[in-house]
Point group: C2
Chain length 334, copies 2
Amino acid sequence: MSPSSAPLPSPARPDAAAGTADTALSIGLSAVIVAVTGDDPKVLAVRHGGHEQLPSGPLERNHRTLEQGLRSWVERQTHQVLGHVEQLYTFGDRDRRETDGEDARRALSVAYLALVREARPAGDADAAWESWYRYFPWEDWRDGRPAIFDAIEPGLRAWAAAAPNAAVGAMRAERLSLAFGFGQTRDEERVLERYELLYEAGMVAEGLREHGVAPSPERPCLPGAEMAVDHRRMLALAIARLRGKIKYRPVVFELMPPSFTLGQLQNAVEALSGVRLHKQNFRRLIEQQRLVEETGEATSETGGRPARLVRFRREVLLERPAPGVRLPSAGVRR
Amino acid sequence: MSPSSAPLPSPARPDAAAGTADTALSIGLSAVIVAVTGDDPKVLAVRHGGHEQLPSGPLERNHRTLEQGLRSWVERQTHQVLGHVEQLYTFGDRDRRETDGEDARRALSVAYLALVREARPAGDADAAWESWYRYFPWEDWRDGRPAIFDAIEPGLRAWAAAAPNAAVGAMRAERLSLAFGFGQTRDEERVLERYELLYEAGMVAEGLREHGVAPSPERPCLPGAEMAVDHRRMLALAIARLRGKIKYRPVVFELMPPSFTLGQLQNAVEALSGVRLHKQNFRRLIEQQRLVEETGEATSETGGRPARLVRFRREVLLERPAPGVRLPSAGVRR
DNA sequence: CTCCCTTATGCTCGTTCTGAGCATAAATGG
DNA sequence: CCATTTATGCTCAGAACGAGCATAAGGGAG
């Protein structure tokens, strides 16, 4: 763009107020890289110093775009080439910085979600694929209500009850109800809300790091691996987004090999969404939406009767406005 | 949804392969502020110098969070207090900057979507509410196919045909089909994809600014107001997001007054989505999802028979996992 | 005052979609 | 050959959906 014809947006009244532009800041790029192998949703984590973290690095001058910068960091750190990449969120609280003090740099961070087809052995020794339920044990409902809720539920209730006043208490109770669906329906997409509540209640390690709150008997620090800075929060957001998107865009197929069985597809969807689906209805849905087509081959690697191998039918993108894998239902039995 | 992975074309630049952290950069904050009055979806635009633009300003040191910085800029520029605010996207191509040359600053920009309840007279003289269809005339299908498609369709086809080679041509044709649904189904959510295609095809003013392409008879520059830098792109993204979100979260109610009629609600949804809905089915949907409750009052301001006034039933948030205004159907007649 | 236009509201009917099962098929490992 | 496992086919009732018909209740024109 030519500078003369396209001035950058500037305040309508530049004189209106003081406030120095924030020059001392750094832009970080972080990637939540997701794959599915068998029954497990995997995320690529880098072990580096103390905590596990997501592949990430600062935006550099020679990065043409943010996404390009991200790809280059990921490849440098994990030797993983990314396929489908989408931006998740930009974190930029002023307190989110490297050092304290007057010349504290504000650490802006742009988080991305990337989907890759297979979990390669993760070239670098420091990079490893981890099930994302290692970080969020309470998000896996495939075998029913996780036992960990015996600790979560009373802990959160205690936190709500310990509110400074009734109004805050009611607010907390409502947020709990919304996020966890205690009593009513649970929404598997509200991963971030759940994590944030546990954070605020001081039940995850990061929340304690931040506030210096000690875990109490009523509100114990939960099992579930922690991550550096706010990387676990980014992961929560990524899971939430993916669980939502899977329903109205055919993104699961970005995670599948070129040909696969319907059972494998269902396993992948269940792994991501954390719930079990009714098998027959799932296949009916996939087939009647014509999301897949026959390859003509079959495999008996899956156990019982050999299964047809199918492939994603790309043309469906042009035919239906919002093809996706709507989750037909839940229930532990299949 | 996120901007398509194909970035808007930008002139290739020789890469100095230096790995310097990018210190010289500015963070911009921009807001797409949406309201609905009667039949029109409105966006708050600031006239400043040449082009219209979105309320925006740089992130400053005293802004505790990005969102807070945004609110402060918006209030300073438009005297509008924001309600529901959500982050849209962060733009950060290296070419997106003020000046060329060695010390070019990279201009990162974080765009937000804000919903406000009523279109106040826009305090500042420079700020004005504009129908968003002024910027995107091709997005309003409430009265059937907009006449402007007589220019769009052949223009885009010519662009696809003018591809440097067959592969690119096929790719372009597929993207057109996907975004505009020529022939098949149209997806009202693909606002951004449509804008980006028109941009690449040199059919919107911003695309010409970028490339210095002249409009040709086959590919005329379309009517539709332009905006500064990439603000129209941000608006496209905001519309796309809102059109999507309205279907699975009760966000329309953020735009409605405390009490309203079902007709007004339908008008708002139609204004946002750009399509007409079947009236009876729309009401059935709203009522059986128990999204609203009776106020007991009625109004005859709407024309014919007086209508009941209802209000949003907030408790629905706790009851159903994903309450939203699914669009019951289309068709010009009601 | 009545007719007509307008918007609101109620209800139906056939189709499609969904949830939940029953039943059969075709491998594998004793 | 049998038990086990996964794949696949099919049914059936209830809910949701698309498309109308029909009536109600205002205001304005004549």
